[in-house]
């Protein structure tokens, strides 16, 4: 490699930087993130509704991160199932269920926090297990299986609750509002979840098996992997992250209502963030750092739109266009047929 590359003196700094970037294995989505960041600064400079540039405002910059927490945690889980060539549409309903369940079970009493959290995580594990079993054992297409499970959760939840129920104790709200030094606790949790996700995917045997399963289920199975167990485990991880997101959402809102998950569009947005981050729908490729960048792009856009005072519906239009363009940015060069 070193022998065939020209001496460093002959290459420009730009070329060297490009090579360094290519070798550093930083997901290309960070390029998009930087571009959007620069564009947002220019937009803020030209169209900003206040005199101050938002990047110098600590509150706003912190807010960019806090906005990413809810979507970010569940998107890490979505990345796991999508690497396994599956998908999870039930997360939004599970987030609603967790939010309502937490405020109902805790009912303002700090003594209830721990067992309530354990019960909810238990529910998440069961939901993930059901999703995984339907997909791997009963061979139901993942889109339909998780949509069906989501509808079941939605139906049961709406039958039991029709409004905000109970509330979480004030001490539980430190999850959303507390901070250690300058760093909000929720942001630390997000980075912890991403780091754990990275560790599982890139440093543990299970991660390698999951990539193999997503790359080609048949080859993985014939090589002796128990693909059913691996994919079911990925679904359990995904549902658990949805529960964590639900806990974060309810600790911000103080009380959960049956629509908090679905109104947040967490199902489709977590998929979009994951795909923008470079994980393919066909499985076997991608990673959680890319997903984090995808999520940061979303919250950076939100912040920019707020800074330049764009109408809420115009935001949706731009968001949709940017999702398409950001994904098209990778896929346009691919030779394979997309469907």
């Amino acid at each position: 490699m070193a022998a065939i590359s020209p001496p460093a003196s002959q290459t420009s700094a730009f070329d060297r930087a490009r090579h360094w970037l290519r070798d550093s294995r930083i997901p290309p989505v960070y390029g998009i993130l930087v571009i959007i960041f620069l564009v947002s600064i220019v937009l803020d400079l030209v169209f900003g509704i206040d005199d101050q540039l938002y990047i110098f405002n600590r509150t706003i910059m912190t807010n960019v991160l806090v906005r990413s927490v809810a979507l970010g945690i569940v998107a890490v889980g979505q990345t796991f199932v999508m690497i396994g060539a599956s998908i999870d549409l039930s997360v939004a309903y599970l987030i609603s269920l967790t939010a309502v369940g937490a405020s109902f079970l805790m009912n303002g009493n700090p003594d209830n926090i721990w067992w309530s959290v354990l019960v909810l995580i238990g529910i998440g594990v069961v939901v993930g297990f059901v999703n995984g079993t339907l997909i791997t054992r009963l061979k139901v297409n993942s889109l339909i299986a998780t949509l069906g499970v989501g509808l079941i959760i939605k139906g049961l939840l709406n039958a039991a609750f029709d409004n905000f129920a109970g509330s979480v104790p004030a001490s539980f709200q430190t999850f959303a509002y507390g901070s250690i030094g300058p760093m909000p606790i929720s942001v630390l949790v997000l980075f912890l979840v991403v780091a754990v996700g990275w560790f599982i995917l890139r440093r543990m045997r299970f991660g390698a098996h999951l990539y193999a399963t997503g790359g080609s289920e048949e080859v993985a199975r014939l090589s002796g992997l128990r693909t059913e167990r691996i994919l079911t485990m990925a679904h359990i991880i995904c549902s658990t992250t949805a529960v964590l997101t639900g806990l974060f959402v309810v600790s911000r809102l103080r009380s959960g209502a049956p629509w908090v998950g679905t109104d947040g569009l967490y199902d489709l947005e977590s998929i979009a963030a994951t795909v923008i981050g470079g994980t393919t729908l066909s499985g076997g490729r991608g990673g959680v750092w890319g997903t984090l960048a995808g999520v940061l792009i979303f919250s950076l856009l939100d912040t920019t739109f707020n800074q330049i005072g764009i109408n809420a519906y115009m935001k949706q239009i731009l968001r949709g266009a940017i999702i398409i363009l950001a994904v098209g940015f990778y896929t346009v060069r691919s030779m394979r047929e997309a469907a």
């Binding site: 061979k139 039958a159 935001k315 398409i324 896929t331 469907a339």
Partner: protein, 333 residues
């Protein structure tokens, strides 16, 4: 396979042939029949022609949406934007028509053209930018709904004139001694037959199925893959506009009109035996799937189940149907 059964059935008796036909019939028709019997047992007047036609005209929009969705599904894609297209059709027509009966025709034509544009965008983004349609149509879902809400300011504005609304709520009177033969049912039959012809009787349909089954093989055997794929999205979006016109006529102007319809149409198509990721599907069976879901909602309603639990039962049914299909596919192999 089909040849083999054809030759054996010629030697068999007529009864044997009918039995074979019934045995190989798509199970969705039996599901629909069982649900229909269930509804009639609960509410015998349901089957009276007048009442049944009212039910059919109410079911026409989801059935049309499902028939359109089948085109995209058999090509191997998904269309998540149909719900937004329905909603925006209703919102924007109300603003444009603003209760002036003279505008109805051009508003409907304009909406159909708008639907075609949405389909073109979906198809071209998928075909040329190679963005997976799940993501491409998620993007247009946000864009189309955003346009509708931006235009109206987030709350329904304007009124639909009566000659616009008649498509969803009126019919031809005095036909076959019926009280009224709904226009929605006429449209359902006409468009249903057209789509059936297109997918099952014309070369285009064969190309579409070939594309969904194996895009590379289809391209190598001379199918204009991009054109066929894009046209499937255009057909899907345009049927969504028709569904929107019918729903606007029936239910009036609301920003919630099309919510959740994308998933319901996919679920109904799958219930009708459409294979996700392409290659297999049938327009009549998918429409029967949509009808079965509507019958199910009626039945649950008659049984006095609280409304939210319908979602749960719907979830159980689609999982069960798809699991059964996967099971019988494995058994037959």
């Amino acid at each position: 396979m089909t040849q083999l059964t054809a030759t054996t059935s010629t030697v068999e008796s007529l009864a044997g042939r009918i039995w074979h036909r019934l045995r190989t019939l798509n199970p969705v028709y039996y599901i629909a029949l069982v649900l229909l019997i269930g509804v009639v047992v609960q509410n015998p007047v349901f089957i009276q022609p007048d009442n049944f036609l009212v039910f059919l005209s109410r079911s026409a929009p989801p059935m049309l949406l499902t028939a359109g969705q089948v085109f995209v599904l058999v090509s191997g894609g998904f269309d998540l934007s149909v719900g937004s297209v329905v909603t925006s059709t209703v919102i924007i027509s109300a603003i444009l028509a603003n209760n002036d009966p003279g505008t109805t025709w051009w508003v409907i034509l304009l909406m159909l053209a708008g639907g075609a544009v949405v389909g073109l965008v979906n198809g071209m983004v998928t075909a040329y930018l190679k963005v997976p349609s799940l993501i491409a149509t998620l993007g247009t879902l946000l864009i189309v709904r955003g346009i509708g809400l931006f235009w109206s300011g987030g709350a329904p504005r304007g009124y639909l004139p009566d000659n616009f609304r008649m498509w969803g709520r009126r019919g031809i009177t005095g036909l076959f001694g019926l009280r009224e033969f709904p226009y929605a049912v006429i449209l359902l039959i006409v468009i249903g037959v057209l789509l059936w012809l297109l997918l099952h009787r014309l070369n285009y349909g064969r190309q579409l199925l070939a594309l969904g089954d194996n895009p590379r093989a289809a391209r190598l055997s001379g199918v204009n893959v991009n054109l066929v794929r894009i046209s499937a999205f255009v057909i899907c979006s345009m049927t969504a506009v028709v569904a929107g016109v019918l729903l606007g006529g029936r239910g009036g102007v609301s920003i919630e009109t099309g919510t959740g319809m994308e998933m319901q149409s996919i679920a109904a198509a799958v219930l009708g035996g459409t294979m996700l990721l392409g290659g297999r599907g049938s327009v009549p069976a998918a429409m029967a799937g949509a009808l079965a879901l509507e019958l199910l909602f009626s039945l649950l309603n008659l049984l006095g189940l609280p409304k939210p639990l319908r979602d749960a039962v719907q979830g159980l049914i689609i999982i069960g149907a798809v699991a059964y299909a996967a099971y019988s596919a494995k058994r037959n192999r």
